[in-house]
Amino acid sequence: MLRTLMLALTALVSVGASAHAQAKYPTKPIEIIVPFAAGASTDSSARIIAQLLEARWNVPVKVVNKPGGNTVPAVTEVMAARADGTTFLMDNIASSAMLDTVVKNLPYSVFDRTFVSMTTTTPLMFIVHPDSPFKTIKDAVDAAKSDTANFTWTSLGGVGGQDLAFRQFFVAAGVDITKARAIALKGGSEAVTLTAGNHVRLGTGTWSAVAAPFSADKLRVLAVCGDTRWPGLPDTPSMKEAGMPSVDAQFWIGISGPPKLPADIVATWNAALKELLADKAVHAKLLNGGVFPAYLNGADMKARVERDRTTVQKLFGG
C-alpha cells in the first residue's frame, strides 16, 4: 500500500505515461524481482530495463528487491509464481549457474525456470592499492607463488562472481587457494574499500564499485577478466591479453520467468529486449550503471548457464 502511494507520488513527478490497455500481452502490471539489495549492478540493470519496458508497453513494470538467503527466497518465489507473464526474476550467474553448488538439496532444479533472455554483463576486475608493488597481474601471480601464506585476497564467501574470478586466478597461477589467506567480506563495495585502504594485497570488483575510487586515484586496475577491455579503462589489459585467458569471470544478468512460461510471452520479451539493447542511447545508460549490454535469447542463455555451471562445479568442487 505504501509502495503504491510512493509510486503515485513519483508518477506526479515523472512524465505522464497514460496506460492504454492493449488487447495482447502485456496488459497487466509486471513485477521484476531482484534477488539483491538496491544499488548494485543487478539492481541498476533491472531498473533501467524496467523503465524502458514501461515506456514501450504502457504497463507498470515494477522492480522489487528481495535480498538475502543466497538468492533462494527470491528464486523460490518466482518458481512458485503463476506463469502468466506478470512475475519475473532478475536472474544472474549467482541465482542460476552457481545456485545448486551453493545451496544443496534445492527443492527444484536450476533448469526448471524459463530462461527468457540475457541482458547485461560486467567483468570482474583485479584491483590493488596505488602503492602496491604489483604493477601487472604477473607480479601478483609471482607473489601468490612465492609468498602464498601471506597472500591476502578478498572473498565474498563461498560461491559468487568475486570468488569465481579468484579461483580461476589461483588455478591458472598453479597455486593452492586454501594455502593463501582469504579475507571474507560481506559485499562487493566492501571488497573495493578494503583494497583502496591497503588492507589486502589483491582485490576484485566490478565497475559499479571500482569506478569512483579509481577516478580518485585510490586504486589501480591490473586486468579485466575475459578477452575484451572495459570501455572506461582503455589502457588496462584483459586477462587474455595478460596471458591468462582461462580467467574470464563475468557477472552476467538476465531475465527468467516461472516454469512453463508460454512461448509467445517469451517471444514478446525477446523482441523488446533485443531491440532495446541494440540502442546506442541505452548502451550509454547501461555503461553508466556499470554494466555492458549482452543480449542472448532464452536458449542461448540456458546454454550459458549450463556452461558456467560446469565451470563452477569443477572449481568449487560441487
Binding site: A38, A50, V103, H199, A212
Partner: protein
C-alpha cells in the same frame, strides 16, 4: 571550475532547485514518520525517475529524502513509542516519557532543533573540510573497526538497567538473533532450523516494530490506558523549549553532532548506532544519569542530532571517494553513476557547481525542514490526547504495514507479532529493551570485524600491534571497569542512604 559555497547557495536558490529540495524534504518526512518505509526504499523507488530529472535536481531530492527521514523518524517515536526509523529507536526512551508527562511539544521541538543544529553544522563542516577527511573511511580496516565496536559495546553495560548480568544476556541474545540466517562472510546457512524464511534472517524493522510499537499497544490495553496524556497541552508557543531547558538541549545537540559526524565518516556506522552512542555519552556526562529514560531533554536532542549528523557526514566519503557508508547512500551512488557522474576529486573539479549546489541545498532543505516541523508540533502533540480506543487500532495497523513493507513478506508480520509479545513480557519483567536492540545492531559488525582481522594475520595479536585498535581496546576495558565500579559504588551509597533513612 571555480565554484564555492556561495555560488552553490545562489544556484540552489533557483525556483526549480528549491522545489526539488522541498519535494525531497516532504517525501523524507513522510517515510520518516511511517515505520517500515525507510529512506533507502523510497530512494530506490525514485531511482528510475532520476533519469528524467536534471542531475542536480535528482541528487537534491534524494539527499532531502535521506536526511528528511532523520527528522521524521522521531515523530512517532516521541508520540507513540514507535520509532519511524531505526535511527530514532533510542529517541523513544526519553521522548515518549516526555509525551506521557504532557511535554510532547517540547520533545518534538527539541528533536527538530537538534536535527537542525546537526544539519547546519554538518553542512558547514562538509563545505570547509570536504574531501580532506574522506580518507578516514579508508584508514579504518577490520582491526580498527573491531576496536571501535568493542568500545561501543561498553554502552551495553550502561544500558543494562538494574542488573548488569540481565543486560549483558539480553545483549548477547540480540547478537544471536542478528546472526540467524546467512553467514554474511561465507554465505553458508546457519541457525535457520531448516526453514526457508529464516534463511534471510530477521530484519531489524519488524523486530523493532514488535518490541516497541506492538508491545506498547499490548501494554496500553493491559493497563486500560484511556489516553497517552490526559492533561492540557497549552499553545504551540508554550511548547517550544526555552531558557535553561533550551540551553541544555542545544548543548546536547552540539555534542551529538560531533559524535554523529565523526563516526558517520566510517562505513557501517549507521545513524541508529551513532544515536545510541550519543545518548550513552549524554548519560555518562550527566549529573543526573538516573533521570534518563524519564524525560530528559538531552536524551532526545543528542540522538536526534547524532543521527542527522551521521547522515550528513556520509556525503563526504560518498562524494569524494565513492564509498557509500549506508545502504541509502549506496542508492545515491547509483543515482550519480546513472547520471554519468563518477564521485571523486574529479567530481569537485569538473562538476564543482553541481557539488556546491547540492551542499547549498542542504542548508536550504534543513531550514525548510525546521520551518516545516516546528509549526506542526502543536498538531502532532494533540495526537497524544486522542482516546486510545481510537488510536490503538490505527497504531497497530501502521505497525503491521510497516513490518510488511521493507521485504514484502508476511513472515515479517508474524515476526513483528512475536516480538510484540517478547517486548510486552520484557516490560512486565522490567527488563530493558536497549541492550537487546544494541546487540542486534552491533552484532554483525562485531562478528565480521573480528573474523576479518584474525584472517589478515592469522592471530588476534593484530589488535595489539596496531595503534588505533590497541587504544580502543584499552579504552573499552577502562570504561567497562569504571562503569561497573561506579554502579557498584552508587548502589552501595544508595543502600547506605536507604538504611540511614530507615533508622530515623
Amino acid at each position: 571550475m571555480d565554484a564555492g559555497l556561495l555560488s552553490g547557495l545562489a544556484n540552489a536558490l533557483t525556483l526549480a532547485n528549491i522545489g526539488f529540495a522541498l519535494v525531497g524534504c516532504l517525501l523524507g518526512t513522510l517515510v520518516g514518520i511511517l515505520p517500515g518505509l525507510g529512506p533507502a526504499s523510497a530512494m530506490a523507488i525514485l531511482l528510475p525517475i532520476a533519469l528524467y530529472l536534471p542531475p542536480t535536481g535528482a541528487i537534491i531530492i534524494m539527499a532531502g529524502i535521506y536526511y528528511g527521514a532523520m527528522y521524521g523518524g522521531s515523530t512517532t517515536a516521541i508520540l507513540m513509542n514507535i520509532p519511524g526509523e531505526v535511527s530514532s529507536v533510542i529517541t523513544a526512551q526519553d521522548g515518549f516519557a516526555m509525551t506521557k508527562q504532557g511535554r510532547s511539544g517540547e520533545a518534538l521541538a527539541i528533536a527538530a532543533i537538534g536535527s537542525y543544529v546537526a544539519g547546519i553544522l554538518g553542512t558547514l563542516v562538509i563545505a570547509v573540510l570536504g574531501p580532506a577527511v574522506a580518507d578516514l573511511a579508508l584508514h579504518f580496516g577490520p582491526p580498527e573497526y573491531f576496536g571501535l565496536v568493542l568500545f561501543s559495546m561498553t554502552a551495553l553495560v550502561s544500558f543494562a538497567g538494574r542488573s548488569i548480568l540481565a543486560g549483558l544476556m539480553l545483549g548477547v541474545f540480540g547478537m544471536w538473533l542478528a546472526s540467524i540466517g546467512t553467514d554474511p562472510l561465507t554465505g553458508t546457512q546457519r541457525l535457520n532450523f531448516g526453514t526457508m524464511e529464516l534463511m534471510k534472517g530477521f530484519d531489524i524493522v519488524p523486530v523493532l516494530i514488535g518490541l516497541f510499537g506492538i508491545a506498547e499497544v499490548l501494554a496500553s490495553l493491559a493497563q486500560k490506558v484511556e489516553q497517552i496524556y490526559a492533561g492540557k497541552l497549552g499553545s504551540v508557543l508554550s511548547m517550544i523549549p526555552r531558557g535553561a531547558n533550551l540551553a541544555r538541549g542545544m548543548a546536547a545537540s552540539v555534542r551529538g553532532t560531533v559524535i554523529g559526524f565523526v563516526l558517520g565518516l566510517l562505513p557501517g556506522m549507521l545513524p541508529a548506532l551513532t544515536a545510541y552512542l550519543a545518548y550513552d555519552v549524554e548519560r555518562h556526562i550527566s549529573r543526573t544519569p538516573e533521570k534518563f529514560g524519564q524525560g530528559m531533554i538531552e536524551g532526545v536532542a543528542a540522538p536526534e542530532a547524532a543521527n542527522n549528523a551521521t547522515a550528513m557526514a556520509g556525503f563526504i566519503p560518498l562524494l569524494s571517494l565513492g564509498i557509500p557508508t549506508t545502504p541509502a547512500l549506496a542508492i545515491l551512488l547509483g543515482t550519480l553513476m546513472i547520471n554519468g557522474l563518477t564521485p571523486g576529486p574529479m567530481l569537485f573539479q569538473q562538476q564543482g557547481l553541481l557539488v556546491w549546489t547540492v551542499i547549498g541545498s542542504m542548508l536550504i532543505a534543513n531550514t525548510a525542514l525546521l520551518i516545516l516541523n516546528l509549526p506542526l508540533v502543536g498538531m502532532w502533540a494533540r495526537i497524544s490526547r486522542i482516546p486510545y480506543h481510537v488510536l490503538g487500532p490505527i497504531v497497530l495497523a501502521v505497525c503491521l504495514v510497516g513490518a510488511y513493507a521493507p521485504r514484502n513478506t508476511m513472515f515479517d508480520v508474524w515476526v513483528a507479532f512475536g516480538f510484540g509479545i517478547v517486548g510486552y513480557v520484557m516490560r512486565r519483567l522490567d527488563l530493558p529493551l536497549a541492550p537487546l536492540v544494541l546487540g542486534f545492531l552491533l552484532g554483525p559488525l562485531f562478528e565480521q570485524s573480528l573474523r576479518q582481522s584474525i584472517a589478515m594475520q592469522g592471530t588476534p595479536m593484530i589488535f595489539l600491534t596496531r595503534p588505533i585498535p590497541l587504544a580502543l581496546v584499552i579504552a573499552a576495558v577502562v570504561v567497562l571497569v569504571t562503569t561497573i565500579w561506579l554502579r557498584y559504588r552508587s548502589r552501595a551509597v544508595m543502600g547506605l542512604i536507604r538504611d540511614s533513612t530507615n533508622e530515623t
